[in-house]
């Protein structure tokens, strides 16, 4: 999801009519967007766009393009003329291993207010962040054309090269920019991953930018006075840089600018021919209307289908028998398959007007035997007067180790936790129940709590998920006997014979703790929680209980789930 801010007034101006916030919300739905917030005093709308593969929608212009189609004000692919210019970019073959592609165009006749500049910067930033994968895959630069001379060189340069980066007043050497400049710190790792510095230079040697990190301070600054600008996108994917350039050009055209082409001179190491940008070559895709009708459950004609795709700013270019060939606007690269066109047609029909059809797939419903088994255990434990708990499976390592006197062990730990509180998956449940007791010392006793829940373990061959049941009881006169009687109650009802063998366990009191054995297999633990564990957790009352692994109880049908 991408979120943008824009002006309510300006959006209405672009739509050419007054719309209420509610109406606007309904219209934005057609552009897969919704209003997240409206701040009336600031005339500000915060709009969330749900698609991550449609960067053309990440600005007011893009949404309006879509909505005007739905409103019937415009249809088909928007077209504009491109005038030739004598500007050229020469690409260095050494860039083949790092950031080989560049797409470039010139926009003239631009008249940008401060608001428009901010909107344009917002679009560029959202595209860089999300579609450009934090500038790794692509990044956008815009420059004041009047300060640039052709041919522009996109080349590799020495670390000793220096220029004044945006927002600074002193010249800085390239490594210094990566270390000290705010943007260098944010995006410098991308350049450090190359074995050289990419640079964009004007024919007279003036630096335009160090892609994808930072523009130079003067050439790379767009202001309200700028009337002509150079737009450039560099990156690692040819299609990506070109579609982004097309989106930016279309947005500038929607503002009344004129677009001029730029020639890209590629060395054979990168591409076997030169490019003229922007490349508005139109891709086509065929869709079979009979197949489409079967897919959507509709009954639309070839003529309907053509009108509907044109409403969505595509062109219907040819029809033969049941096959419609559809032309895709050059600012969209998300159409991979005819099902993508099927969605466009469904949206144009309005999902709320298509008519939902009645349920017809008849099958017998059921829960899995393992869930049924878990429910049996839950019911028995409820019958003892236990309060059922749901605790987190992703938890704090202190709860699983330090708080219950246990050492570090083979646990599933998270490589990228947001906080330590949620950084390791539990391999057993009882430490979490001890934690719950420690949070409820002000509540009346006795307290009987239990959880039947999933735990995760690392085995020799795999990582497994299984269900355990833990039942614990806190009361002034709680003793091993209590835990034992409830375990007996549970296992008797489950027709399972068991033994308890002596066990020394750091969480439990010596001599009052045992392992539960079923069919010669150790499958759980029972005992009195050790006083020093109680003390650590500030629980001032005896606690006893047991935890048992359900897959090891033969009368149940609980299975271990292997990840691989």
């Amino acid at each position: 999801m991408v979120s943008i801010k824009t002006s309510y007034t300006k959006l209405q101006e672009m739509l050419g009519k007054d719309v209420s916030i509610d109406e606007l919300g309904n219209l934005l739905a057609f552009a897969k967007s919704e209003i997240d917030d409206y701040v009336e005093e600031e005339d500000m709308l915060v709009i969330d766009i749900k698609t991550s593969n449609r960067p053309d929608l990440w600005c007011a212009e893009g949404m309006v393009r879509e909505i005007n189609g739905i409103l019937g004000k415009e249809n088909k692919i928007p077209i504009y003329e491109i005038e030739p210019s004598d500007f050229k970019v020469v690409v260095d073959p050494k860039l083949a291993s790092s950031r080989p592609y560049i797409a470039c165009a010139i926009a003239k006749n631009i008249s940008l207010t401060d608001y428009h500049i901010k909107q344009l910067m917002q679009l560029a930033e959202k595209i860089d962040q999300s579609y450009g994968r934090k500038r790794k895959r692509s990044s956008i630069g815009m420059y004041n054309l009047s300060m640039i001379k052709s041919p522009i060189e996109y080349k590799v340069i020495d670390a000793s090269h220096e220029f004044i980066p945006l927002g600074h007043e002193e010249k800085m050497k390239l490594p210094q920019i990566l270390e000290e400049h705010e943007k260098g710190q944010e995006f410098g790792d991308i350049v450090k991953g190359y074995d050289h510095y990419p640079i964009l230079l004007s024919a007279d040697g003036i630096t335009l930018s160090l892609p994808p990190v930072i523009n130079s301070n003067d050439v790379g600054r767009i202001t309200e006075e700028t009337t002509e600008c150079l737009i450039e996108v560099t990156g690692t994917n040819y299609e990506t840089v070109n579609v982004i350039l097309n989106i930016l050009c279309q947005t500038m055209v929607d503002h009344g600018s004129k677009i001029y082409s730029v020639e890209i001179e590629y060395p054979k190491e990168i591409r076997d021919k030169n490019d003229i940008n922007p490349n508005l070559e139109i891709e086509e895709i065929a869709i079979d209307i009979d197949v489409l009708n079967k897919y959507l459950g509709t009954n639309i004609s070839m003529k309907d289908a053509t009108e509907l795709v044109e409403k969505r700013r595509f062109n219907g270019v040819s029809q033969s028998k049941s096959i419609l060939t559809v032309a895709i606007p050059p600012y969209r690269k998300d159409i991979l398959h005819w099902v993508d066109i099927a969605e466009e047609i469904a949206i144009a029909m309005d999902l709320n007007k298509m008519g939902a059809t009645k349920w017809k797939v008849l099958t017998a419903g059921s829960i899995l035997p393992e869930t049924e088994s878990e429910n049996i255990v839950r019911d028995i434990l409820l019958g003892t007067g236990g309060i059922e708990l749901l605790t987190f499976t992703l938890t704090d390592p202190d709860i699983l180790m330090e708080n219950v006197n246990l050492e570090d062990r083979k646990l599933v730990k998270i490589e990228n936790p947001v906080s330590k509180t949620y950084s390791v998956l539990r391999d057993q449940i009882f430490p979490l129940l001890i934690n719950v007791f420690s949070k409820n010392t002000h509540e009346t006793y006795p307290q009987s709590i239990f959880e039947v829940g999933e735990v995760v373990k690392i085995t020799k061959k795999s990582v497994i998920t299984q269900t355990n049941a833990a039942f614990f009881h806190a009361d002034a006169d709680a003793s091993f006997e209590d835990a034992h009687k409830w375990l007996e109650f549970l296992l008797k009802l489950l027709r399972t014979s068991y033994k308890i063998e002596k066990l020394e366990h750091p969480s439990f009191t010596e001599g009052r703790c045992g392992k539960i054995i079923i069919n010669q297999k150790e499958c759980g633990i029972i005992g009195e929680i050790a006083p020093n564990v109680l003390e650590k957790n500030q629980i001032w009352i005896p606690v006893v209980g047991f935890e048992i692994e359900l897959p090891l109880i033969p009368s149940l049908e609980c299975k271990v789930k292997e990840t691989y």
Binding site: K32, K294, T298, L336, V361, L394, V418, L425
Partner: protein, 496 residues
């Protein structure tokens, strides 16, 4: 001549209470409690004898106490919001409206209320998003402020004139104080001769039943109006109980359950669902990765190489594919299940036709935990397949969910985006309180998802936001309460 006078049967304790009342004439129930040292239940029991014989009357009284609310206390300590705004504006020139709440360190709603007040009295100007004082030496609502401060200092306050405004602004509240007064109706001396003290027993014993002595004694009557002792029984966790209900609903609709592991291969979480390996949802910030072991093993099955092909060139689906070199190492990385759809993906292997599946699965996202986000939550997801199924059937399934599970007729469909379905649709439910709530999502699995598993029929994938539904039903505003460890809530939460 008066009628022959009847005896009045009273237990000894009731007579004692009667004597105390006789002396004091009028007394609150609390005072009697202290004087007799009886607990409330017993006291009420004995009082009933006196009241039913018209010896004593019982009058409930209600008085109102004025007290500062949380907001009131804050205003008393930190000044009223409008006074704080004035103060900030006096110190800072030309404050941007957008920055004001940050400068004030208060929330927007509160600030807007203050702004509204000042605007109404023309004490401030707002021009082009900049806000300033109309006159520098404003001393707004000084009297109100004084009253609040007196309140805080427990001084005698005369609020008459300001009571309405204090209540309206929620600065004070009226607390009802209930008490019971007992008053003597008939003096002890008048009926003394008619009182007969009785002895009653309070409990039937096994011996009394066996030896027949129950015939000679009277069992004390219970006061039926007395509150019973507190009791907490065993019960299901309310949210777990709700999830059981959802399961029963889905089973009733013909869905079969499926389950999967908590730790997942990226293959099932992403690749099988046609999410490109550089997709932003696979990044560090969007999915929890396992530190050790970092990698598992891919299944040794044909569908793995077909998934690879579908990513690289679209395989035989007619799709362009993602056109990059697919990496099996990346696909074998271990993550915590990020969505329930990975369980659906596993079910695609040897999927029976027709079939309907659901799962309720724990999922994980690296979000900072707050009132609206959890690092761990439940998703309800499923799939439906049949050779005849269409997109309009999918809308029908969502309609059923809205009507049967969310129990509302008030919903709309909105276009949506999922990387693995096309078309994709959101089910948006209109709640009278929460407004428009995203309750579900669905779509038809892309052919790039189903073809590697040899599936020829359309497969509908759907998901429901049941956490939100549970919260609405229980009036819960903080999502953390779903996994609450507060025993008080677990013991007393009412059934929905």
């Amino acid at each position: 001549m008066s009628e022959p006078e009847k005896h009045i049967s009273l237990p000894i304790e009731a007579v004692e209470i009667y004597k105390i009342l006789n002396k004091k004439k009028k007394i609150s129930i609390k005072e009697i409690e202290e004087a007799t040292k009886l607990d409330r239940g017993k006291l009420e029991y004995f009082l009933d004898f006196l009241i039913s014989n018209d010896l004593v009357s019982r009058l409930p009284i209600v008085s109102h106490l004025m007290s500062l609310t949380k907001e009131g206390r804050e205003a008393a300590e930190k000044q009223l919001i409008e006074r704080r705004i004035v103060e900030v504006l006096r110190k800072n020139k030309d404050v941007l409206f957008a920055n004001l709440s940050e400068l004030m360190g208060c929330d927007k709603k509160e600030m807007n209320a203050g702004i509204g007040l000042l605007k109404k009295k023309d004490l401030i100007k707002i021009e082009k998003g900049t806000i300033s004082l109309a006159e520098q030496d404003t001393d707004i609502n000084a009297d109100l402020q004084g009253i609040l401060e007196d309140f805080l200092a427990n001084k005698e306050v005369d609020t008459k004139e300001f009571e309405a405004i204090l209540l309206e602004r929620n600065l004070i509240e009226l607390i009802e104080v209930k008490d019971t007064i007992l008053e003597i109706l008939t003096f002890y001396e008048e009926v003394k001769s008619r009182i007969k003290q009785t002895s009653e027993i309070s409990r039937l014993t096994p011996e009394m039943i066996r030896n027949g002595s129950w015939k000679d004694v009277k069992l004390k009557e219970y006061n039926l109006g007395v509150s019973p002792p507190v009791f907490y029984g065993g019960r299901k966790q309310p949210y777990a109980h709700f999830l059981d209900w959802v399961k029963r609903k889905l089973i009733g609709l013909g869905f079969h359950e499926m389950r999967g592991p908590l730790v997942e291969l990226e293959f099932w979480n992403f690749d099988a669902l046609f999410q490109a390996q550089d997709h932003s949802a696979r990044e560090w910030s969007d999915v929890y990765r396992v530190a050790n072991p970092k990698q598992g093993k891919l299944p040794k099955k044909d569908y793995v190489s077909l998934v690879q092909k579908v990513h690289e060139d679209g395989y035989d689906t007619g799709s362009k594919g993602w056109r990059y070199k697919w990496s099996p190492e990346k696909s074998a990385r271990l993550v915590l299940r990020a969505h329930g759809t990975s369980v659906s993906a596993r079910t695609l292997v040897d999927l029976p036709v027709p079939s309907k599946y659901f799962s309720i699965s724990r999922c994980y996202r690296p979000d900072a935990v707050d009132a609206t986000h959890l690092a761990e939550f439940n998703q309800v997801e499923g799939i439906v397949t049949d050779p005849s199924i269409t997109f309009r059937d999918l809308l029908g399934i969502l309609t059923t969910f809205a009507v049967d599970v969310a129990e509302t007729e008030n919903f709309v469909f909105k276009p949506d985006y999922y990387p693995f379905t096309e078309p994709s649709v959101e089910l948006s439910v209109n709640d009278p309180i929460m407004g428009s709530v995203e309750f579900g999502g669905a779509g038809i699995f892309r052919p790039e998802v189903t073809r590697p598993f040899g599936i020829e029929t359309p497969v509908i994938a759907w998901g429901l936001g049941i956490d939100r539904l549970f919260m609405i039903k229980h009036g819960i505003t903080d999502i953390r309460e779903l996994f609450s460890h507060k025993l008080e809530w677990l013991r007393t939460a009412e059934m929905s």
